[in-house]
């Protein structure tokens, strides 16, 4: 087991190195360049620009810049924002909480709802419920997240006035209830796609389990159906969902970015868009790296956790 974990860890680190080089290359080879924001200012002379270029080390060859950046990144120095000079890691840190809050709530909704839909769909296969769930999931996967957000705002904020149309808090009200009130709409919007995916995978996982011998044995023993489903079937059907959770992570993160924009939620996604607008290269690069790291850690954890809980998985 330790060897398996070490192996996977090594792979993840190797991948992370490739990811960082790739991200760096993409950003720095794109036309425009890190200083175009400064260059646009009328007060900047060519002399000033040259000086800033030298000071930031942007006149060096790209591979050297990359190695320098990578060396600092490993030591925890992710550079400073071009916008306000704050350290990139602390900028990300101050926006991370809001994003995690949103993602965790959405995942909770999606897991509960998705599992319920999936289990019911599997148990009553080809019933009306199952067909509706199948079609519904396909439509849910096809609705643009931001548009669903707009419709939600229109219905529940503009028309009904039940929910706030954006932000994380009412100004001057820092209470938990206020946060929850603001969290409902964006979390549900973000949860839509996730629920569809969880429901689909849960259904097929459950179908696989309930056709197995030990379930038939439990039925033959006269065990009540609810007990068979919850105690015997559900537990095993949930195992593969660990992998699904890991694989879903990039989609969830991307969805969070869009949702945060619609609901002006002060998280990492909004920070990313703002930083793109300002051409704040260090922050953009930092967020790209950070999100890739989260994705990698997510899939790594999923793999390891799966190997731990399912002894049938041979590790090595």
């Amino acid at each position: 087991m330790a060897r398996y974990v070490a192996n996977r860890l090594m792979q993840a680190i190797m991948l992370l190195v490739i990811v960082s080089a790739l991200g760096f290359a993409i950003l720095h080879l794109a036309p425009g360049g890190p200083l175009s924001q400064f260059a646009a200012s009328a007060q900047m002379t060519q002399e000033d620009l040259d000086r800033v270029t030298r000071q930031l080390g942007l006149d060096r060859p790209l591979p050297i810049q990359y190695l320098d950046w990578f060396g600092r990144m490993v030591r925890g120095d992710w550079g400073r924002s071009y916008r306000d000079g704050e350290a990139v890691l602390s900028v990300i840190g101050s926006h991370l909480g809001a994003t995690l809050e949103l993602m965790a709530t959405a995942t909770l909704i999606a897991v509960l709802l998705g599992c319920w839909i999936g289990v019911l769909g599997a148990v009553r296969r080809y019933s009306l419920f199952d067909s509706l769930a199948t079609v519904g999931a396909m439509i849910a996967l096809s609705i643009p997240t931001f548009w669903f957000g707009l419709v939600t705002i229109y219905l529940f904020s503009v028309k009904l006035g039940w929910l706030p149309s954006g932000n994380r808090h009412t100004i001057g009200d820092g209470s938990f209830l206020d946060l929850l009130h603001h969290l409902i709409a964006p979390a549900v919007v973000l949860a839509l796609v996730e629920t569809a995916i969880w429901g689909r995978f849960m259904r097929s996982s459950m179908l696989e389990v309930i056709n197995q011998d030990y379930i038939r044995t439990a039925r033959a023993k006269g065990m009540p159906e609810w007990r068979i489903l919850t105690v015997h079937a559900l537990r095993n059907a949930l195992l593969p969902m660990i992998t699904v959770a890991g694989l879903q992570f990039p989609t969830l993160l991307g969805g969070a970015l869009v949702t945060e924009t619609v609901f002006t939620w002060p998280g990492m996604g909004r920070l990313f868009l703002d930083s793109i607008g300002y051409r704040d290269y260090p922050v953009v690069m930092g967020i790209l790296m950070f999100s890739a790291m989260m994705v990698l850690i997510g899939s790594l954890l999923a793999d390891i956790l799966y190997a731990v809980v399912d002894p049938r998985i041979r590790v090595g």
Partner: protein, 291 residues
């Protein structure tokens, strides 16, 4: 009992696939919807008396079904239906062209990685893994913001973020097909590697490739709407389904119809391609019945 009743009808693979596809009602509905959307976008603008970029300040925010404007007018008095149709041209073309490019690159990379395996395969597939670590939207937005926005760039960038999943599918297929008898026979005949790859292996992997292509159109249309909605894609005055929603949020209270029509168009198009892909998967390869 007549012998005719016992006879099983042998269908050609294509016919069998068509029969399975026909049974998939939603896929059929999807195909029909796609045809309607394409025809509507292609020929619709010629039937309308309004130009999609014609600004008429005196007729701003006309609600739907009021007078000549069937879907109303937007904040500059432009006809929403005309913009929806012209936007359909842009969004659907981006979806199809981006898919074509993504398929070409994905098939090329996947075939090489799957056929040669070893170091080449490992390097190519690790590259694919690495790009897939970035959430597609993050990568797409970063690239879109740094390049000159436009039809060409948006299409290319969407293709650039979509080919990896195709490469994975093709790589897995080619890697397993490479060991089959017909592939080994081709080697024995002395066929060149390129010939084996693209005349023997890839055609045999066509079923999952066609399915992936259909689903990729859906993904590309969705991505276009995201990028254009956020202002980094198709730029006004040209319309796309995504950028029509760009301003809609501001006028949500006073002119909600501006947000409704493009959103429904996107959802309809994406759902149709998704159902079509689903039906094709059932029809072309009954074994790969993924939920």
């Amino acid at each position: 009992m007549s012998t005719a009743a016992l006879q099983t009808v042998q269908l050609a693979p294509g016919q069998a696939a068509w029969q399975r596809f026909r049974r998939h009602k939603l896929a059929l509905a999807g195909a029909v919807t796609i045809v309607i959307l394409v025809l509507g976008s292609a020929f619709g603008p010629y039937l309308l008396p309004f130009d999609d970029t014609f600004i008429d300040i005196m007729k701003r925010f006309a609600p739907p079904l009021s007078g000549a404007h069937i879907l109303g007018t937007d904040e500059l008095g432009r006809d929403v239906l005309a913009r929806l149709m012209m936007g359909g041209r842009v969004s659907l073309s981006i979806g199809i062209v981006a898919m074509t490019i993504a398929m070409a690159v994905g098939i090329l990379v996947g075939a090489f990685a799957g056929f040669y395996g070893g170091v080449i395969g490992a390097v190519l597939m690790r590259f694919v893994d690495a790009v897939l670590c970035f959430p597609a939207i993050f990568l797409l937005l970063a690239l879109a913001a740094l390049t000159e926005p436009g039809l060409m760039t948006t299409t290319l960038l969407i293709a650039a973020t979509a080919w990896m999943s195709v490469a994975r599918v093709v790589e897995a297929q080619v890697r397993s097909l490479r060991e089959r008898e017909f592939a080994i026979a081709a080697v024995a005949f002395g066929s060149s590697n390129l010939r084996i790859m693209f005349r023997e292996l890839v055609p045999n992997a066509m079923a999952p490739i066609v399915v992936a292509a259909t689903l990729n159109v859906a993904k590309a249309i969705l991505l276009e709407s995201y990028v254009s909605y956020l202002g980094f894609g198709i730029q006004p005055p040209a319309a796309s389904w995504g950028n029509m929603l760009n301003n809609a949020q501001i006028y949500m209270t006073s002119a909600p119809w501006l947000a409704i029509a493009p959103g429904i168009a996107i959802t309809l198009a994406v759902t149709s391609f998704n159902f079509l892909g689903d039906g094709l998967r059932d029809a072309l390869d009954p074994r790969m019945n993924i939920p």
